[in-house]
């Protein structure tokens, strides 16, 4: 059974025709070529497939695309694209992305898209997060390289940067 499903993906209209029970992760990767969304455990444990839907992080690997109808979906590509510079295929990186690189919070990079989106949702809500709030915010994202401390300090630094930029 195929169904036409449309949603907003990174600020642009997207439409797919597929089984509504196909996971959003597979639709993003296979049908729409958004391979920046990573397929990890594919059972809602690791958070590498994290996307933002209507302002909340979810695991796209256990999200039926049928429920995406009309929703606003943001992948890691969507947070840099907003500030894209003309002529650059990569676009301008979001400050959180830049700070993750500067702080060495990226090693193999597989968890990074999900990690940054989890951090972004936190920092959209507050630019003065407590240490506990930061740890909780990224608690759904597993990293097997860094031991988390550099990720934690990157989020902290990003909060300070964004706070000062706002002033």
């Amino acid at each position: 059974m195929e169904k036409k499903i449309s949603f907003i993906l990174n600020g642009e209209k997207a439409m797919v025709s597929c089984n509504p029970l196909k996971t959003l992760l597979n639709v993003l990767r296979d049908n729409l070529n958004h391979i920046e969304v990573k397929a990890g455990c594919e059972q809602g444990e690791c958070g590498s497939c994290t996307v933002i839907i209507d302002g909340k992080i979810v695991n796209s690997c256990i999200f039926p695309v049928g429920q995406a109808e009309g929703k606003n979906i943001i992948t890691i590509a969507g947070i840099s694209k907003k500030e894209a510079t003309k002529g650059s295929p990569v676009g301008k990186l979001h400050p959180i992305q830049k700070i993750f690189i500067e702080e060495g919070a990226v090693q193999c990079g597989f968890c990074t898209p999900g990690m940054i989106l989890a951090a972004k949702v936190l920092l959209d809500r507050t630019l003065t997060p407590t240490d506990d709030e930061i740890r909780t915010a990224i608690s759904g994202n597993l990293c097997r390289c860094t031991g988390y401390s550099k990720i934690f300090s990157a989020v902290k630094k990003a909060a300070i940067f964004l706070r000062h930029r706002k002033l």
Binding site: K22, V58, I62, P64, A118, T136, S139, G140
Partner: protein, 291 residues
């Protein structure tokens, strides 16, 4: 991949007219359990139908409402919403405490209390608090709704007493008021493998009306230490009207050891569960009397 049939009714009336008669019905809200089952081949896709109820939720069944005698929580309420509810914090702090540790933020944003009940896992985090509050589940079918005690929803591990096609639409929690000078307190404790995403190897919910160490009312329920959630009735007999003391706490722990029936499974062993359940209870009890 073979997918189950999929329907997306927009109202309950629409649901009853669309419901296939010849399939096993799975109601789909957050899908945090269902998608794992589908992926692992635990669902006979060809003979099943996933009924996506998220559009019904938007239309008619939403929110946490205070009634005269009860708090009514729509079955579609996510753990995220429960963990942030001031109303529930006031009346069911143990349920809020459970919602806060239910899963990762990604899971809590999607998983619903109705799904937690329907999944009927002895380790379901909302279940010990609901049992400790003597909550009732509102079960709806094409003929209307009925209320049943939460513990009567469960027939065994992962099994409910619901008939195929019946849906849980709400949870009703009777309000317990604190008498003068006392306060409502409650907490939920569990032990498991990963802090942010623990599926309980053992869990406990304690709800009480307290003043310092004096207990006016207390209700305790245990998770993952038996085929179903266990309500520890005798703890109220031991502690209600008394001050918590080491002696009485030991009595409670004896009672817990007597009533549990833990098993070995892929997640833990009976021996371990029996060993940790009493310290978990003691931690919870100490937390509420020291609040």
């Amino acid at each position: 991949m073979i997918y189950p049939q999929y329907i997306q009714p927009v109202s309950l009336t629409d649901l009853w007219s669309k419901l296939p008669q010849d399939k096993k019905i799975y109601f789909l809200a957050g899908g945090t359990d269902l998608f794992s089952y589908l992926r692992d081949g635990l669902i006979d896709a060809e003979n099943s139908c996933f009924v996506d109820i998220t559009h019904i939720q938007a239309a008619e069944l939403n929110g946490i409402v205070e009634e005269t005698e009860n708090i009514k929580i729509s079955a579609f309420t996510t753990f995220r919403t429960i963990s942030e509810s001031g109303l529930l914090k006031k009346y069911c702090p143990d349920l809020v405490s459970a919602a806060k540790v239910m899963g990762t933020p990604q899971i809590a944003n999607r998983a619903t209390i109705g799904g937690n009940i329907a999944n009927a896992s002895p380790a379901g985090d909302a279940l010990p608090p609901l049992a400790a509050h003597f909550a009732k589940a509102e079960i709806t079918n094409s003929n209307g709704s009925r209320l049943i005690n939460i513990l009567d929803v469960f027939a065994g591990p992962k099994k409910t007493t619901l008939v195929n096609g019946e849906i849980i639409t709400a949870v009703i929690i009777p309000k317990i008021m604190a008498i003068d000078g006392f306060t409502v307190a409650g907490t939920f404790k569990k032990i498991g493998g990963r802090k942010s995403h623990i599926i309980a190897k053992a869990s406990v919910s304690v709800f009480a009306v307290v003043k310092n160490k004096s207990i006016n009312y207390i209700s305790v329920a245990l998770g993952a230490v038996g085929p179903k959630i266990i309500e520890v009735k005798n703890i109220s007999k031991i502690l209600a009207g008394c001050e918590v003391s080491p002696e009485l706490t030991e009595k409670c722990k004896d009672e817990i050891r007597r009533i549990v029936s833990p098993i070995d499974d892929f997640r833990s062993t009976a021996e371990y569960r029996l060993e940790v359940i009493c310290p978990l209870f003691e931690q919870a009890l100490n937390e509420i009397i020291n609040e």
